[in-house]
Amino acid sequence: MNDRIPQLAGELATEISKELKSDIRKLGKKTFNLGGVHPEANKFAHSAEVVTFPLPDQAVVYMTQHLGAPATPIVQKGDKVKVGQLIGEAQTFMCANIHSPISGTVNRIDMIADISGYKKPAIVIDREGDEWDESIDTTPDIIREIKLNKEEIIARMKDRGIVGLGGACFPTHIKYMLKPEQKCEYLIVNAAECEPYISTDNRVILERTEQCLIGIEIALIASGAEKAIIGIEDNKPRAIAALVEMCKKFTNIEVQPLRIKYPQGAEKQLIKAITGRSVPNGALPISVGCIVNNITTMYVLYQAVQKNKPIIQAYTTVSGKSLPAEQCKIFRLRIGTPIRDVLNAVGIPEDTGKIISGGPMMGKAIANLDGHIAKGMGSLLFMNEKESRRGEVHPCLRCGKCVSACPMGLQPFMLHAYAERGRFEDCENFGIMNCIECGSCSFSCPSNRPLVDFLRVGKAKTGAMIRARNAK
């Protein structure tokens, strides 16, 4: 552990000019008021530069890389494809386009197991060279001027398959399709990155500051909002400094440092922290005049609008306690790269108990290491043997720690008991549908009870029950 500390200290003690420091201090620090926990940050990859990962020989592109229905493959076996060519088309509302991440020949269209082990429709492409689609601007120039109008931007989002890269992979264009009576006042840009270990957003901000901010300007046009506020936790001082410095070149974009607290990156908590507004139960952020987007999404939005580049890459933090410090890296990977390739590149340490996709609080252990990288796969974390074992489960003490920790003001111990016994009506009455599955309850439980696990079961079953009732 000790060998990691200089690296972190180096990150924190960088030269930020005095004026900038006082500017940042003036912005103050905000946070949300209800619940929350403080897991160890462990941002080992904070100062690691983004490394471009070698192109895979074969890419497996899943048709479900987003929330909603799978895209429909529009290529056939034997077709030649170029980088960025549309290969999966969104044919329903809740869906996103999928583009080819590499150039080559379509090997087959098949059902292939993803990281959960379940088989999903996917297109397998054998790589030949790296030939990009002509419509994509591959030059490194930064284009500041935005030529498209609101409708064109939203159409471009849909066309280029932009999804939220914070983890949920919600198709972005749907967020911006507002009803006439809805008005967006604030565009909230989520750079909180409250999950431990993950440093993807931090590095994207540091290395692509201007592009991120142009992306925000584009989103401002698309949303019709007057102001954009970037919410960022104060364990990323260099990123804050870079953003504050760059914001001087832009109007209508502000930076709001946030006090460290998990789950600050959750939509409702972030809105509460920044604007002080509470999103009503069961409502979307737009009901309080906000749209929330991740900062990396803003970067890919910039690429989509200014360079016509679809999402074909994933920015993935590879970190964890079982990895040696020099192996904690951030990779720029092509979508469809086998996870095995990444694991071979860093080497799986002997002490590894499990590998998690996503953060340690909300992420999921990878059940099938033969899966492939998909959109929004923000991290691969190597948990050591000790961390990955759950402690022995003891009876509930009714200590109420989960109640204090819950950022949604729920009573997780009650919901756990109801969900375990299949009493889903009681679950509904106790507000299980408001659960954001952040895992603060399980994190704070002294009896190691699998609270969030049962809350997820309960939420899924209660949701099904409510849908069945409404369908009647």
Partner: protein, 291 residues
């Protein structure tokens, strides 16, 4: 002094008791609810586990519905004594085959070795939402025991050696509670068959043969050999999975010998007579001593 106090107290309490009794007597006369006595009798013929398998809230609700509609077919209770209910209601009860739960998975620890370890909430519903299973078979039993919790008759248990559920045929009434609880449809309620002898495919995997076989030695690979062998056309193969129709199956066991992976199970057959049984299917299914 003391005796009079006791006397007064006893008299007062006694008097209150008398008045209350009289009031209760008249109230029970005035508010008397006429209830069909047959409901109680019918309820006594039902198992009384209130499992909900019939679709009613409990056994009483089913008994009420039966008496009200005078129809025995509104719902089926596998544990109910239909002959007796028919006598009570004065209707002729149709004979129904008794049913039992069968486990359509043979992914034992040996056949389908675990590739990952599951360490989370022990409930199949959650495990199913997370991953494909320890053996990576996305159709097989997860072994967390949601069926065990659902069973009101203590008829199903997880065998710690195989990590698969085992059904106690004597206790199972075929109420379908376990089949409803199973997120993967591994459990099937089948006819018990003559002399409890059943032949079924102990696999639920709809993947292509090679893929299914990779994860589990005992998987049905959908080769169709059983369907070709079956003299009664009882076996159909859909989505790479064979299914034996219990209504057509004569339990000849030709398919059992033919199956290359041993996915077809035959239960409750006498062991040594196996080859004879395969020769003459129709007759050997009903030996007198086992009736």
């Amino acid at each position: 002094m003391a005796t009079t106090t006791i006397l007064y107290a006893a008299l007062t309490i006694g008097l209150i008791g008398m008045i209350a009794a009289v009031i209760l007597y008249f109230v029970s006369k005035v508010f008397h609810v006429e209830e069909d006595p047959r409901i109680d009798e019918v309820q006594a013929c039902l198992p009384g586990a209130n499992c909900g398998g019939c679709g009613f809230a409990g056994c009483r609700a089913m008994a009420e519905a039966m008496v009200k509609t005078m129809d025995l077919n509104i719902a089926y209770c596998p544990g109910g004594d239909y002959g007796k209910i028919g006598e009570i209601l004065g209707i002729k009860a149709e004979a129904r085959d008794p049913q039992v739960c069968v486990v359509r998975c043979n992914g034992t620890c040996e056949n389908a070795p675990a590739k990952v370890n599951y360490d989370s909430a022990i409930t199949c519903a959650f495990a199913n939402s997370l991953y494909a299973g320890e053996s990576a078979c996305p159709f097989g039993c997860l072994g967390c025991g949601d069926c065990v919790n659902a069973c009101q008759f203590d008829a199903i248990h997880i065998n710690p050696e195989t990590h698969l559920p085992e059904v106690n045929e004597d206790l199972c009434v075929g109420c379908k509670a376990c089949a409803k609880a199973c997120p993967r449809g591994v459990l099937e309620i089948r006819d018990k068959g003559r002399n409890n002898r059943r032949v079924f495919v102990a696999c639920n995997n709809k993947e292509k043969g090679a893929v299914a076989r990779k994860n589990c030695k005992a998987a049905c690979i959908g080769c169709g050999k059983c369907a070709k062998t079956c003299p009664f056309e009882a076996i159909t193969v859909t989505d790479n999975l064979a299914y034996i129709d219990p209504a057509k199956c004569k339990a000849c066991r030709k398919c059992v010998a033919e199956c290359p992976t041993g996915a077809i199970h035959a239960v409750n057959f006498p062991e040594k007579k196996a080859p004879v049984a395969a020769e003459a299917p129709a007759e050997t299914t009903q030996p007198a001593e086992n009736a």
